[in-house]
């Protein structure tokens, strides 16, 4: 158990190297990658099981010097905020790999290597507690994702891949400077020059207000691009539409969560003054994202683009909850991150598998296919409802908690956000109706229904959606302690401000 976090990070990388060297054929490397991702998922289970839910701080900590002369550590740890994200990553990577078996036809070996390298980057980002290490994982992730979109994507893949890369990079280069500024400021205050996230966070009271504002703004920009928040979301529809199914699943399921995770881990506790001051501003942006995303989703002709814009809307709920800065809001936000990963991941998989059969994503091309693919229609309906936030399914709990938290903090914005829920019902149901109901388009009379493999990879997501909806405590119990600690931290900071 001692090095379980390192194992989680480096196992996929090792597997990728193994495949690179020892495998020749696409098919065998595909299976090898799948087995590796299953093992990786299995490794994450004891992590979940042995996680002490009453402990608010970091667990399974690993600490070693990496570059001693400038105070860089190899410092890993997991707490209630990150553990669900790690679980989500291992689960979705496994499913995404299984979901690509027939979708990826060219250069299979390279694709699976890229997926495994990407997994290393994602898990590392969630576990790193040293700024330098965090930054490395954060950026390193870009290369495999760039290749996944660019090589295996759709028609405008090059444009989408470059846009994705440049957007994220532009946001994060300034973050690097903010990290260095924190390093020196913290060093000057304490005499201890380190990139240790926890130590730098501890000294938040010593940072001047102006400094906090600048650091917050720079970090926020970097994370907001990743989330993505309005008006920085324009890369997302392109990337989603052009990426292969597995790329979309990972992008929506995990990569977007990194932005909100970063806000929780860095923006709030490290620069509480700025976070509290700018709370209304972020809430406004979130609500704009919720409503704008929903409205734009409504008029989309491409199913994938519709789901992409719905992501903008749903992630708006997450940021709204986080910046409510109370327990309900933040827990709702984290839960919603998890739900969104599961539900949107599933929706992208479902769109991908029908695309493999029909080679079109235009809503207008479909119609009435429920008659020829009943199993598919049923599952699609469940996830459509889940996405809308129907009670008894995951997203309902998340959105409800977010709205509860938001009402306490800024009731006006919360009312507007609640309207967004209605919009989401409009675009999702309308899309569902146009694709699966109405009169059957003759082209799809003989459409094949989901096969066993496809049912298998959707099935775990189906269970989790209902599980979270029926008994969210299983998942929420992981975050209680850490979130309470974070909220207390923010309250202390707020008191100190006055």
């Amino acid at each position: 158990m001692q090095h379980i976090l390192s194992l989680l990070i480096f196992f996929p990388l090792a597997a990728a190297l193994f495949i690179l060297i020892f495998f020749r054929k696409g098919k065998s490397s595909m299976w090898a990658a799948f087995i590796a991702s299953v093992i990786e998922f299995i490794i994450s289970i004891p992590l979940m099981a042995n996680f002490d839910k009453s402990e608010a701080g970091m667990q399974f900590v690993e600490k070693a010097w990496w570059i001693k002369s400038i105070g860089v550590q190899y410092f890993l740890g997991v707490d209630g905020i990150s553990i669900l994200m790690v679980f989500l990553t291992t689960l979705l990577t496994m499913i995404a790999i299984l979901g690509s078996f027939t979708y990826i036809q060219k250069r299979q070996k390279e694709f699976y290597i890229a997926m495994l390298v990407l997994e290393t980057g994602m898990i590392g980002t969630f576990l790193a507690l040293d700024f330098f290490l965090f930054y490395i994982f954060w950026e390193a992730m870009l290369i495999p994702m760039y290749l996944i979109i660019g090589v295996w994507g759709g028609k405008r893949r090059v444009y989408a891949a470059v846009k994705f890369f440049i957007y994220t990079l532009a946001g994060s280069v300034l973050m690097m400077l903010a990290i260095i500024a924190l390093y020196y400021t913290h060093g000057q205050i304490t005499g201890n020059y380190t990139f240790d996230v926890l130590k730098i966070t501890e000294q938040y009271g010593m940072y001047t207000q102006g400094f906090q504002m600048v650091v917050f703004a720079v970090f926020f920009l970097g994370f907001a691009i990743k989330v993505p928040m309005f008006p920085l979301h324009t890369w997302l529809p392109d990337a989603h539409v052009e990426a292969p199914t597995a790329g979309s699943v990972i992008l929506a399921g995990v990569l977007l969560k990194m932005g909100t995770y970063g806000m929780l881990r860095f923006c709030l506790p490290m620069t509480p003054y700025a976070a509290i001051k700018l709370m209304p501003f972020v809430a406004a942006l979130s609500v704009i994202a919720i409503i704008y995303g929903a409205l734009v989703a409504m008029v989309q002709k491409d199913i994938k683009k519709l789901v992409a814009y719905s992501s903008v809307s749903h992630m708006g709920f997450v940021t709204l909850g986080i910046y409510a800065l109370n327990q309900a809001g933040i827990e709702g936000g984290i839960l919603q991150m998890f739900n969104h990963g599961i539900i949107t991941g599933a929706l992208f998989l479902l769109i991908g598998l029908i695309y493999e059969r029909t080679h079109t994503r235009e809503i207008a091309d479909y119609g009435g296919i429920a008659a020829s693919v009943p199993v598919y229609a049923t599952i699609f309906l469940v996830f459509t409802m889940a996405s809308i936030g129907l009670p008894s399914m995951g997203a309902f709990i998340g959105e409800f908690l977010v709205l509860v938290g938001a009402f306490a903090a800024f009731s006006d914005w919360a009312i507007l956000a609640a309207i967004g829920v209605i919009f989401s019902a409009v675009y999702m149901l309308w899309m569902f109706q146009r694709v699966l109901y109405q009169s059957l388009n003759k082209r799809w009379e003989n459409l094949a229904d989901m096969n066993l493999r496809e049912v298998i990879y959707i099935f775990p997501l189906l269970i989790i959606v209902f599980w979270v909806g029926m008994y969210p405590e299983t998942f929420q119990s992981y975050m209680h302690a850490s979130v309470i600690k974070l909220v207390e931290h923010m309250n202390t900071a707020a008191v100190a401000m006055q």
């Binding site: 400038i70 490395i136 290749l147 090059v158 440049i166 990079l169 280069v173 400077l177 260095i180 020196y184």
Partner: protein
């Protein structure tokens, strides 16, 4: 007697280098026409011997000949950088030169002697020594640039380099005379003392002299607007020589500049810091913007070399030890990534895997030759400064130095520039990975060129994961 020993120790590495260089000349005569590469390999062995014999103890300083020549850690680290550049270039050049029919021993001898010149430049504590070193290096470089005399472009590069080089050397020399006239000395330490006394703080003579000298330096490090020669020379020169020229002479010029401005001009920092800050911004931005517009990969790399000089200048104006340590680290990393990239480019072109250096001819390289495409991808992303590759470590240290010196605006411009630069490096990968090949080609690449690019790529990855090794290597540097 003690004085003699000190003198000997300070010049010992250069003496060794001279002897070995002469041996190489003899070897060149003795080897048969097909085996000229042996000369180059012997050079590697000689450099290894010198590196092993002359490593100064930690903090060891050998200042000899009336404070004219210094052998210390600083000189040593830069010597290692030159030696690595020579080694990689030599390994990568054999096949290229053979294909072009210009495999001659002189190629290696000249490179070897240019390193001798660079060592004098870095070790100099006196302007005369510095100047002699500079010319030794420069003349070797002119010849290397025009080494492929059957090719118009190469000859043009040689002549262009020579004319501009001579012009900038003259300017440097002219400036030196002014400085000498005003301060009465050519020694760095004494110049600093005179400047510190403040008596000539407003002296126009000194100012003119220094500005002329710094302009000369700016030519050598290809800072904008004194860069016009660089793209043509780098593009025209034989590719391995171009790789060497973007790395070693630049590192040498930076090292000499660091010595000069940190020791001699330390009291006059008000003059040169703003000057070089502006030059740094111009160099980074211009280099990147023009590189964006290039369709020829070699020329793009030439402009990228200019922009990299801009990043290094940030370390220079930071005015703290972190700054020049970062420059040393950057140069060290730059050796691997840039020579690696140039070597790959050279062999790809010679074997017809890319028809010429146009971007389009890189189309589908990942399909034709996945291994080389992967190597190129690693070099490109490393040059762009994307972690976890080595280039990022270098950039990070540069920005750290700037932030420490409170030059936040410069760090911000640098960071934005590196985001901008990313696009043109990425464009190469776009062609390699995302486009279909234009034509099929079947070629095998020899062992030595493969080894060079492999070492380069492996080091870029290794340093990315274990940066402490390189950082510790430069962390005790003091000018």
């Amino acid at each position: 007697m003690q004085n003699f020993m000190m003198n000997l120790q300070s010049i010992f590495p250069e003496v060794l280098m001279t002897i070995f260089g002469l041996i190489m000349v003899v070897l060149d005569v003795m080897t048969s026409k097909e085996k000229k590469s042996m000369v180059g390999y012997f050079g590697i062995a000689f450099l290894l011997i010198v590196a092993l014999l002359t490593n100064p103890q930690l903090g060891g300083k050998y200042l000899g000949f009336n404070n004219m020549l210094m052998w210390d850690n600083f000189s040593y680290v830069f010597f290692v950088i030159f030696a690595l550049a020579y080694t990689l270039t030599t390994l990568g050049s054999v096949e290229y030169l053979k294909d072009k029919g210009i495999l001659k021993g002189e190629f290696y001898t000249l490179m070897f002697f240019s390193i001798l010149g660079m060592m004098f430049m870095v070790s100099a504590f006196d302007l005369t020594i510095f100047y002699v070193g500079l010319e030794t290096m420069a003349i070797a470089m002119y010849v290397l640039a025009g080494f492929n005399k059957n090719e118009m472009r190469s000859s043009e590069a040689g002549v262009k380099y020579f004319i501009i080089g001579a012009f900038s050397s003259a300017m440097l020399l002219f400036g030196m005379t002014y400085v000498y006239g005003a301060t009465g000395s050519l020694n760095y330490i004494q110049i600093a003392e005179v400047l510190k006394s403040g008596m000539i703080a407003d002296n126009m003579t000194v100012k003119i002299g220094l500005i002329l000298m710094l302009t000369g330096f700016a030519f050598k490090i290809s800072a904008v607007p004194f860069h016009m020669w660089a793209p043509d020379v780098y593009q025209g020169a034989p590719t391995p020589a171009a790789g060497f020229m973007t790395v070693a002479p630049k590192a040498a010029a930076f090292a000499a500049l660091i010595r000069f401005v940190y020791i001699a001009l330390e009291p006059a920092s008000g003059l040169w810091v703003p000057l070089f800050s502006i030059l740094a911004v111009l160099t980074m931005t211009y280099g990147n913007l023009v590189a964006l517009a290039q369709t020829n990969v070699k020329r793009m790399l030439a402009y990228s070399a200019i922009s990299h000089a801009g990043y290094m200048m940030i370390g220079l104006v930071a005015m703290n030890p972190e700054g020049y340590r970062a420059i040393a680290l950057y140069s060290l990393i730059y050796v691997f990534m840039n020579i690696g990239a140039f070597t790959l480019l050279g062999i790809l072109k010679n074997k017809g895997m890319v028809e010429d250096e146009r971007l389009e001819s890189f189309s589908g390289l990942a399909k034709k030759n996945p291994l080389y495409a992967l190597g190129m991808l690693i070099f490109m992303f490393s040059l762009a400064g994307i972690p976890p590759l080595a280039g990022f470590i270098g950039k990070f240290q540069i920005f750290m130095a700037a932030m420490k010196a409170d030059m936040i605006w410069l760090a911000v411009i640098g960071a934005l520039n590196s985001a901008l630069a990313c696009y043109y490096y990425m464009r190469v990968t776009i062609y390699m990975y995302f486009n279909e090949p234009e034509y099929e080609v079947d070629a095998t690449v020899g062992r030595s060129a493969f080894i060079t690019s492999f070492i380069g790529a492996a080091m870029v990855l290794f340093v990315g994961f274990f940066p402490a090794v390189f950082i510790n290597f430069v962390k005790h540097l003091l000018v």
